[in-house]
Amino acid sequence: MSTPTQFQAAPMQGERRVRTISGNKGLQIEEPLIFEQGMKGRSGVDLPAVPQHKDRLGALKRKGEIGLPGLSEPQVVRHYTKLSQKNYAIDMGVYPLGSCTMKHNPRLNEKMARLPGIGDLHPMQPISTVQGALELIDQLAHWLKTLTNMPAVAMSPAAGAHGELCGIMTIRAALLARGDARKRILVPESAHGTNPATAAACGYEVDPVPADDRGRVDLAAFKAKLGPDVAGTMITNPNTCGLFENDIIDIADAIHGVGGYFYCDGANFNAIVGRVRPGDLGIDAMHINLHKTFSTPHGGGGPGSGPVVLSAALAPYAPVPYVVHGPNGFALVERGEQAFGRLKGFHGQMGMFVRALAYMMSHGSDGLRQASGDAVLNANYILAGLKDEMTPAFPGTCMHEALFNDEFLEGTDVTTLDFAKAMIDEGYHPMTMYFPLVVHGALLMEPTETESRDGLDRYVEVVKGLAKRAKAGDAAYFKGAPYHTPRRRLDETLAARQPVLRWKPEAPKKAAE
């Protein structure tokens, strides 16, 4: 169970609060909903007259109004510009969300995705008119297969969790093909929530495997759970504690020994690109989050893209569609003999493929290796800088993210959440909190390779300063943070007890008074 939100307002310390007439605070400008600024009959687009035509809808036409507001273009531009200014972003500074990999998003990639001949390609055009698109997918697939040393890749999954679904369905299909679907999937307790959710969605029982005191899968416990009803395992490597599973080859051998398959959650592939190839570790399937490792933008929560590399044993069961080399150039297989089925409409996240290929080509094989090395170097630099003031969860060095527990806050009455909220006022997005679950009050920091040394020095100084402040007994300050944001701590209990999930024409229920 995670720690419940402490909910109380603390006064600003040593500062007289000045209320403005408008409620705005300089560049922080209040912005109503579009529904509160619309006017009937106004529009932000000009359209030509409706041509003469035979009406083929008749009584099927909408009778009432939809209720959409009317705004002109300048109002719309201002609305979204003001909304954008209420967000933190990588474009503004360090975004150390562990396991989320917030790295710089090169703008070249955006430009490439919008090229005529890519952005305006319809997915159902004749294959002869989309040869360049299929070639691009094929090239990206080649990069992914080479970097992982895996023979095949399913390109269609739309995100990491969708890739997991693809991987586990492929495994189930391969097992069913030999008449042995099996029952259980072994999932470490430190796993991301999508892993057990995915296994359950594919009809498997989730059998949790404990972590050992080094933050790795407990190999003995893992082996003890193996049996002929185990379909496979889902393991993140490097794992969610930011550590390389050094027993990984033994784990692969053990699962193969009972006839199961090894699914690797590739969320942290960015730590080892160009240095370790998952295919060399005995992995049968792994999704690659293009929106993490290969820097397609997160866009406020998607879209993502999660291609799944597959071993030779699993490749025949990959879902449709996939690109093949045919007699007349590239072809798209939309109905496969052994394919387990289809995961989404059309062919995959083409817009993300273009961005990821542009990113990889820009780095090249040498640059990708440098990038993973720098990501690991930056994380260890933070770990070294903070280890005396905070408490690392595990001894030694880490991979691409540094994990701390909340021991350093013991007796301060400051929680991990409070600490994170105080970081916001310092101009940083907080680190990942309370994940992985196996570490008490976890604080997981992932700087990525696109931070400079001096930027990290400033970050470390600020975090150390906050840790000192917490230990100095200034808990009230932390409980009230953040103070300088467009909104301060929000009442999540109220939101969940009386859900208001949309605007309504009549005044919305006065929620908290």
């Binding site: 995670s2 939100t5 209990t493």
Partner: protein
């Protein structure tokens, strides 16, 4: 006279005749934090001791409430769907979840009494 007993999963049971009123303990609601939603069983549902009876949710956690005794659900506290906060405010009283018609009263005896439960909770720290 009714008596209240407790389970290791932090449910309380008050037995009156063969009707058992069930809720979660003060300790459980404290651990959970602000309760935002309670998913109650349907009246008439038969439950077995140790199996899921209801679900209780806070903002960041969802926990199952297990039936401390076997029986048939005869009444549920439907006011909780409107005011889940009652679970926090009065866990042992107005925040009850469901009433069961108990099929085997002897199961009641195997639950902890107040002193034993108090000791059990202290042992968790």
């Amino acid at each position: 006279m009714s008596e209240v007993r407790y389970s290791q999963e932090h449910e309380w049971v008050k037995l009156e005749g063969d009707t058992a009123t069930i809720g979660i303990t003060h300790y459980a609601q404290e651990q959970l934090g602000d309760v935002v939603f309670v998913d109650l069983p349907e009246v008439g549902k038969k439950v077995e001791k140790g199996k899921e009876l209801a679900t209780v949710e806070s903002v960041k956690a969802a926990s199952e409430v297990y039936a401390p005794l076997s029986g048939e659900v005869v009444e549920v506290n439907s006011t909780l769907s409107e005011t889940p906060a009652t679970v926090n405010e009065d866990a042992l009283g107005a925040g009850w979840f469901a009433k069961l018609k108990v099929s085997d009263k002897s199961q009641f005896g195997s639950l902890m009494d107040e002193a034993a439960y108090k000791k059990y909770v202290e042992g968790l720290h």
